[in-house]
Symmetry: C2
Amino acid sequence: MIMMVLITYDVNTEDKAGRKRLRKVAKHCLNYGLRVQNSVFECNVNQKEYVELQHILSNEIDESKDSLRFYLLGNNYKNKIIHIGAKPSFVVTEPLIF
Amino acid sequence: MIMMVLITYDVNTEDKAGRKRLRKVAKHCLNYGLRVQNSVFECNVNQKEYVELQHILSNEIDESKDSLRFYLLGNNYKNKIIHIGAKPSFVVTEPLIF
């Protein structure tokens, strides 16, 4: 069963390593879903992919500095989301390296 | 009925006005809930407060530059949220002006 999972993260970008972690976390999330804000992704995944994604992302972040949150919205989420304001126009200025 | 609403936002902080909008949005959210990441709040509100909060926040942002998202998680959300990594320790360096 496919379900919507919201992923939000704060990655500490005070150093080069942090900026690299940020790019890698974003790149992984792009493989599973849609970027709706800078650090917010909406991903449609099944249970196996959900566990996989948690594993991949938790291996990318520095758990002492970064924060990663997953919100399981289920499969009946369309009327649970309201967006106000500008549509994100993501100009990836920095190459998403992997 | 009290329900959990997740609020995420991206405010364009390229200018002074944007940084002020950011502080005001955060300040309003703090009145309704818990800051869990830089631009992510978990708020327990009833329907009236939810509408009120949407109104207040949409009046604070610049809809052409900023993005505001509300996710209605309902009242059975505890096992829908996973957090990995650092707990946010919000040192408000800048005074939250209003």
